[in-house]
Symmetry: C2
Subunit: 364 residues, 2 copies
């Protein structure tokens, strides 16, 4: 039985309690003889600030670099609002993404039939929704320089952020999107603002070229990011794979996630390049945030975190069957009526975070 | 009777046909003794490219500068996809905004009860929705320099856009938002990404300071732009006035517009600073685009364009009563069953663009 090395970074807010459910599931997978997992745990975000004064220590980064995969809970909360910009909780997460080269953020937006009524959208518009958002994660305005606030001669200030994209950065994320589309419906939509941004012009040009050179049999559509946001609300099922840059991806993937009616269910994967040995760095985390208002009350839904583990099994360990098993257990759990408060159904009894973890373990 | 000077810029696609309905309404307002309007017409966007090789001539800009207000239809279309970046149709609109200093873009997102069922969202979430989005329109990544594509030594390319905001730019748009909120519910939400962008840090700081110094009696909430997009889908009625930057405003206002179920109904105003004489430059345009696929077929809904005239009456000419009259005529028209194809109701007879214009004129 292969042994995999996992670094757990529970982080802040509801992070630790949803991560605790992952630990139970890992044990169960080991007992079932599927794989052995060795886990280490470290701090990130506000928890790391409180302990070490920085949102990610070099030691934690080194552990992340050495692990076969990383599972992250969530970072941030009002407690650290006063912290200096460079040391804010989010900087820990951004450093992990950047320093480990996790350029491809995969965010599936899936609407579970049993939860379709929880969507703000009409059932028929979202039932069966299954979009894969591919967000570029290590470039764009998140990391471009200059990024600074300067004081002008008159004492007022000037803030600058820089959106930068190179051909190579766009090519590699386009490949990820097209490769995924090949295994799905064969359709890719690419979103940018080429009518206003030079990075949008280059984005469109490079995605078009990658398509023509390597994936001409797939369907490619270019859509302006503002129109894309509209179309996601109007008729979301028109999309299958949607590829976009870091900032548009941040907003559009949140819109897509909200459409499903079950934000508490959605996992994500952040992947690096495949190296010579065929492996790649990877971090898995729920799409939801740290939700400090409900932390430590056994109210959080652990299924997005457990679903993130399923993604790790699939994308990092090649354990597709085990991933299917785990995804199946998740579906069965809430189809069987186990619902945390966020996905509560009329009549169904609400279960807590820990109980939901137990339901999954039992289903395995 | 005062005479007002209007510059009409019909532009491309459905622009000319919806603008034709405005001309009818202006005549009717004149006949009713409400005000006299002198209009001039000029080209913008693709239409100007075709005639003059540029999307806005200096002469057209000078006319716009001299007019009491500008009404614009829409710009752009696939016909001009091959045009050089600096000469694309959108550049005409962007030059108008920038050179006339139209920094405050007001985009009401109103859900008409008679149209609530056309929304992708459940009726109860959008019925009665009335959000005023205040988008900064002359700064940010739209206009910051450098904005360029360079060729790297290895022959690949690098694209850069620059997001810049100064204290002064943020202050003046914050004042617009708070002043509007005073006449509405007294609540302002401000959206940025201060957790990732330095411009977001400054944005939040300045909005907070303007609030404390001048509008402490109003309610101010800061929301991250990605979360804001989510919340717009989840529970849109939580927002009243929403102030944000140029790029987030582009995306968020489109989401808000789509929620209403009646994109073809939504007007917008782009306002400059109030000058020593108490007047301000202003451009009014529908939120919808040029819709080339339905152009010249008498299918377009002219109500967003006519609603833009109503905004001009209100914001540029102080003719609040006439604006109410016109807004009332719009409401009566579709409540009375006159519907263009985009807002067609089961059973109701679809009317064309010109017929819809006539309905409004008759209602006046
Ligand atoms: C926490 C924050 C820095 C992050 C981002 O903006 O990327 C989050 O919103 C996300 O989407 O993962
Ligand atoms: C046409 C385009 C340049 C414009 C923008 O991006 O501002 C449009 O989308 C808008 O919102 O008015």
């Amino acid at each position: 039985m292969t042994t995999y090395n996992l670094l757990l970074l529970p982080g802040d807010g509801i992070g630790p309690e949803v991560m605790a459910q992952v630990s139970k599931v890992l044990d169960a997978l080991g007992r079932a003889g599927i794989a052995r997992f060795e886990t280490e745990t470290d701090l990130v975000g506000g928890a790391s600030i409180d302990a070490h004064g920085v949102p990610l220590t070099d030691a934690a980064l080194a552990r992340a670099d050495a692990a076969d995969a990383i599972l992250l809970g969530a970072v941030g909360g009002p407690k650290w609002n006063g912290v200096a910009y460079d040391n804010r909780p989010e900087a820990g997460l951004l450093r992990l993404r950047k320093d480990l080269g996790l350029f491809a953020n995969l965010r599936p937006a899936i609407c579970y039939p049993a939860l379709a009524d929880a969507s703000a959208l009409k059932r028929e518009l979202v039932e069966g929704l299954d979009i894969m958002i591919v967000r570029e994660l290590t470039g764009g305005v998140y990391f471009g320089a200059p990024k600074e606030i300067t004081v002008l001669p008159d004492g007022t200030k000037r803030a600058v952020d820089t959106q930068v994209y190179t051909t190579g950065e766009i090519e590699r994320i386009a490949h990820v999107a097209f490769d995924l589309a090949r295994k799905r419906s064969g359709r890719v939509a690419s979103a940018e603002k080429h009518n206003v941004m030079k990075s949008g012009v280059l984005w469109k040009e490079v995605v078009t070229a990658v398509h023509a050179a390597h994936y001409a049999e797939l369907e490619l559509e270019h859509v302006l990011a503002d129109n894309c946001a509209m179309q996601l609300v109007r008729r979301p099922k028109q999309f299958d794979v949607l590829v976009t840059d870091n900032l548009f991806g941040d907003v559009l993937s949140d819109v897509a996630a909200m459409l499903t009616g079950s934000l508490g269910m959605l996992p994500s994967a952040s992947l690096g390049a495949v190296d010579a040995k065929g492996s790649r760095k990877a971090l898995y985390e729920p799409v939801h945030g740290s939700a400090p208002d409900i932390a430590c009350q056994d109210l959080a839904n652990p299924l997005a975190m457990i679903g993130s583990l399923a993604m790790a099994l699939r994308y990092s360990f090649g354990l597709g069957e085990a991933a299917d098993l785990l995804d199946g257990a998740i579906k069965d759990a809430f189809a069987g009526g186990a619902r945390t408060r966020d996905i509560a159904a009329p009549g169904a009894q609400a279960v807590g975070t820990a109980a939901m973890g137990d339901v999954i373990v039992a289903a395995l």
